[in-house]
């Protein structure tokens, strides 16, 4: 009897301890580090973190505000949800003057896209109207969702592929003096409801091909719906989305659609994609982050893909993939993959994924987002890796926030009510409760996670000046003013375009590379640079589209920390050529042309 009584006392204590465990985990667990919440001045941030951001869009003469699409009135009840994408930003040096320019999309029918030319003096000027790439959201043609740039005809100037819910458009860059619409000659399909695309030379023939990931099915015209059964049939296993396209560049301004022939067949709801040589075959592999389902990883076997998401570990747990970014976060010469998802306290904790390659034979990834502290980012969208404080470790910039409307009324209850139900209910927009001015994961704090190089990321967004609460979608990185610092340009849904100018402590060094292919595609998309310095190693790859509806500057930026000794840079060109640069000095931009 006494033994039982004692045991009962012990049981009560243990039980109380269990109830207290969540609070202890919050305090001491892997996610226990509270973000640096207080906005400090730039000098303080510089001394603490080695950098700060200053939002300079107004000073730069950029006053762009995104306008969301207005779709078929049948969707009015849930218009904020259906029309929740379209704000995008991509970086391009369209006139090859050595200064990055900014292209942003707009999404209201009749609204204008903007191309902000860099004036080299801290300001930008919108030149899209005179270059004929502004008025691209005309009635009946759909609206813009994103843009990716690549020199498909190897003439030295990056061309524009416009991602739309509607008629996709290809514009040829006429030596930076204007753009010519070449969609029809290129043989592109009449209508795709896409949110993502990437330029890549999948077959290594020196000509850029194009992957486009459909979101809504291509037979859906969101302005003239036949019926309201156009929503996903599941929130985690949907396969009723848009088809995928792989446009093989035939070299005469024409493209041939070869997705099925090349092994890409999927009707998942693609929202983001990126390409790089992950498997080390010399050919670019393709990662696709899908909404309402698992991610897909298409391994490229000399021009033919096979889907290896489940085999490599990245395609098992279905979530709401909205971003695909590659970064060598451990400085080990291998890319990790960051996929953003949804986390809303008490409602839905999917957690973002940081897929880190495992050190074993064969390509396999482990999700280390929780361990490294980059798991919870709200309703996350675009994210990019970049070394913001030039310390030699890649940091992470994350945009988030879905629908910011009423500050005290949420749609989450209604969302979860329907989203957990049967496909026949979910897939019909008329079954969804009206939004009625409510928010859904709105007004969220952004994340700027600083990589300490020892396996932890710390959120310093508020401290370094990233304090906006807009509905962030797309973020693109570039050294906009050639200062050796990586600036961030953010496109917000129904919100302003923000330019976060990076101010870095002066004792941190850097190096940049501007690659140009000769045997490879001239944009050098798919080329990688592995930099060796101070016994460290970091790889970066030239991208033809990454993050969410964005494209970083094709110039590669490496932070080096203090007093760096650079050993070498090894460039792996898409042609297979490996080039080593031995005499490199910090704080310089190196233009590198592929040896013939």
């Amino acid at each position: 009897m006494k033994r039982i009584s004692l045991a009962r006392v012990v049981l009560t204590i243990v039980f109380a301890g269990m109830l207290a465990t969540p609070a202890l985990m919050r305090r001491f667990g892997p996610q226990g580090h509270q973000p640096a919440a207080v906005h400090t001045d730039c000098q303080t941030a510089l001394s603490r973190y080695g950098f700060c951001f200053e939002e300079v869009s107004k000073q730069a003469g950029v006053d762009f505000v995104h306008e969301a699409p207005t779709l078929d009135p049948k969707l009015n009840r849930i218009m904020p949800e259906v029309a929740s994408m379209g704000a995008s930003v991509s970086i391009v040096d369209y006139d090859r003057d050595g200064w990055p320019d900014i292209y942003v999309t707009n999404s209201r029918t009749g609204s204008m896209n903007h191309l902000y030319r860099n004036n080299h003096d801290g300001t930008f000027t919108d030149v899209a109207p005179q270059l004929d790439i502004a008025d691209v959201n005309r009635p009946g043609t759909g609206v813009s969702m994103g843009a990716v740039w690549g020199d498909y005809d190897n003439d030295g100037y990056d061309d524009l592929f416009l991602i739309k819910w509607g008629k996709p458009e290809l514009f040829h860059n006429d030596q930076g003096k204007g753009f010519t619409r070449v969609t029809d000659q290129a043989g592109l399909p009449p209508w795709i409801n896409a949110n993502t695309a990437v330029w890549l030379d999948y077959d290594g023939d020196g000509k850029l091909d194009l992957f486009v990931g459909g979101y809504y099915p291509e037979d859906v015209n969101l302005w003239h719906l036949k019926n309201t059964r156009m929503m996903p049939d599941s929130f985690e296993y949907a396969k009723n989305g848009g088809r995928k396209y792989l446009f093989h560049n035939l070299g005469n301004g024409r493209f041939e659609e070869v997705s099925a022939k090349a092994g890409i067949v999927s009707r998942r709801w693609a929202l983001a994609c990126a390409a790089a040589d992950l498997a080390g075959t010399g050919y670019p592999d393709l990662f696709v982050a899908n909404d309402y389902g698992v991610s897909e990883l298409y391994i490229n076997d000399h021009g033919h893909f096979h889907e290896a998401g489940a085999d490599t570990g990245v395609g098992f747990a279905p979530k709401s993939g909205m971003n695909a970014a590659f970064g060598d976060i451990f400085n080990q010469g291998k890319f990790s993959i960051y996929v953003s998802n949804i986390s809303e306290e008490g409602v839905l904790i999917q957690g973002n994924n940081l897929w880190v390659p495992e050190d074993r034979s064969g390509l396999h990834y482990q999700n280390m987002a929780r361990d490294l502290g980059v798991e919870l980012g709200g309703w996350s969208f675009g994210a990019q890796f970049g070394d913001f404080n030039n310390d030699g470790n890649l940091d992470l910039f994350l945009e988030n926030g879905y629908i910011s409307a009423s500050r005290n009324r949420s749609y989450w209850y209604d969302f979860s009510k329907v989203a957990g139900g049967n496909s026949s209910i979910i897939s019909d927009a008329s079954h969804w409760p009206a939004f009625d001015g409510r928010s859904l994961s709105g007004y969220q704090q952004k994340k700027v996670w600083v990589n300490d190089g020892a396996g932890k990321f710390e959120d310093v967004a508020q401290a370094v000046g990233v304090t906006d609460r807009h509905d962030g979608r797309s973020v693109a990185l570039a050294d906009l003013w050639n200062t050796g610092a990586l600036d961030a340009v953010v496109a917000n849904q129904s919100g302003p375009l923000l330019i976060y100018k990076d101010v870095v402590a002066p004792d941190r060094d850097w190096i940049e590379f501007d690659l140009e292919g000769t045997r490879s595609n001239r944009s050098a998309i798919g080329a990688s640079v592995t930099l060796f310095w101070n016994g460290r190693e970091q790889v970066q790859s030239v991208s033809g589209g990454n993050g969410f509806a964005s494209e970083d500057d094709r110039r590669l930026h490496f932070g080096l920390g203090q007093d760096p000794q650079i050993q070498k840079a090894v460039i792996r060109w898409p042609s297979g050529l490996v080039q080593t640069l031995n005499t490199l000095a910090p704080n310089r931009l190196y233009p590198v042309k592929e040896p013939q």
């Binding site: 039980f15 599941s234 904790i349 979860s416 009510k417």
Partner: protein, 292 residues
């Protein structure tokens, strides 16, 4: 001395086939919930991960064995703990492992720590999951967005589940709850102005399949009388109705969390009153056989 009574020889019971063993009432629920799990996972990959579900099951069974041995002085049958573990594995959504272990441990421990007059008063997994949702909302969520269940698989699970409950003589609980939920959904749609499909939608989802087949019918935490069980099932639906009007995402779990124990307390109070009444009757009328 009377000769001892000799029982007439009885024929030996025929050996039980495997299917009969599986239909043993203690095994039926575990087999059924495993079936749901396997069908769901092979059809849609419903689990966060095998490891997390196995962790929940292992923690649950280990906890039951240890606590049962200490407090009941016997090795408990693992079926109940298995169901608890598997329910936690399916209903809890979290990227972290510790949440699954903690939830399973809390669920089982609640059976031994929170007892009244020798009965545990919460359905274990209902308690564990609600506790996690209350205390660790930053790390866990319930199963709210899940499964691309097509209609056929839904019907199969419902028919099979109903047959099993019918055999266990507990189908009336599910039936009363189901009818109440649907009727109240229509009323809710009328009040909120939302489409009735939106209000009915939750019951077509996977959380409810576990809720109505395993949680509200749990023999250990439901009242004994058939009428009482029906009243309690309706009460759960009614409390859930009001919670849903207040936009509570986990309304059914929370409704059971409050109504289940309340019903048991009421039943125990009524039992006490009946016993007292019986005692006083016995005192007044010893001929009824009551002790003096």
């Amino acid at each position: 001395m009377n000769a001892p009574a000799v029982a007439a020889p009885q024929p030996a019971p025929p050996p039980r086939a495997l299917w009969q063993t599986l239909l043993d009432s203690r095994f039926t629920p575990p087999v059924f919930i495993t079936l749901i799990l396997l069908v769901g996972n092979f059809s849609f990959g419903i689990l966060e991960s095998y490891q997390k579900t196995l962790l929940a099951i292992a923690t649950s069974i280990a906890g039951e064995m240890i606590l049962g041995r200490i407090f009941l002085r016997k090795w408990p049958h693992p079926a109940s703990a298995y169901i608890t573990g598997i329910s936690v594995g399916i209903l809890l959504r979290s990227p972290a492992y510790w949440t699954y272990a903690l939830c399973a441990a809390l669920s089982i421990t609640s059976k031994y720590a929170l007892r009244f007059r020798g009965r545990h008063i919460w359905n274990p997994s209902n308690f564990g999951i609600c506790a996690m949702l209350f205390l660790a909302s930053d790390a866990v969520a319930g199963l709210s967005i899940q499964w691309g269940n097509n209609f056929a698989s839904l019907v199969v699970i419902w028919v099979l589940g109903s047959l099993i409950l019918w055999r266990a003589r507990r189908f009336h609980i599910t039936a009363v709850y189901l009818v109440s939920f649907i009727a109240l959904s229509v009323l809710r749609a009328h009040i909120t102005g939302d489409p009735w499909q939106a209000e009915v939608s939750p019951i077509t989802g996977p959380m409810y399949q576990l809720f109505i087949f395993f949680m509200i019918t749990d023999p250990k935490t439901t009242v004994r009388s058939r009428t009482g069980q029906c009243v309690v099932a309706f009460a759960i639906a009614l409390v859930e109705f009001f919670m849903r009007l207040d936009s509570s995402i986990y309304a059914p779990l929370y409704a059971l969390f409050w109504v289940g124990p309340a019903a048991l307390f009421i039943e125990m109070a009524l039992d006490t009153r009946r016993k007292r009444a019986a005692s006083s009757t016995a005192v007044l009328n010893p001929a009824t056989g009551g002790s003096y």
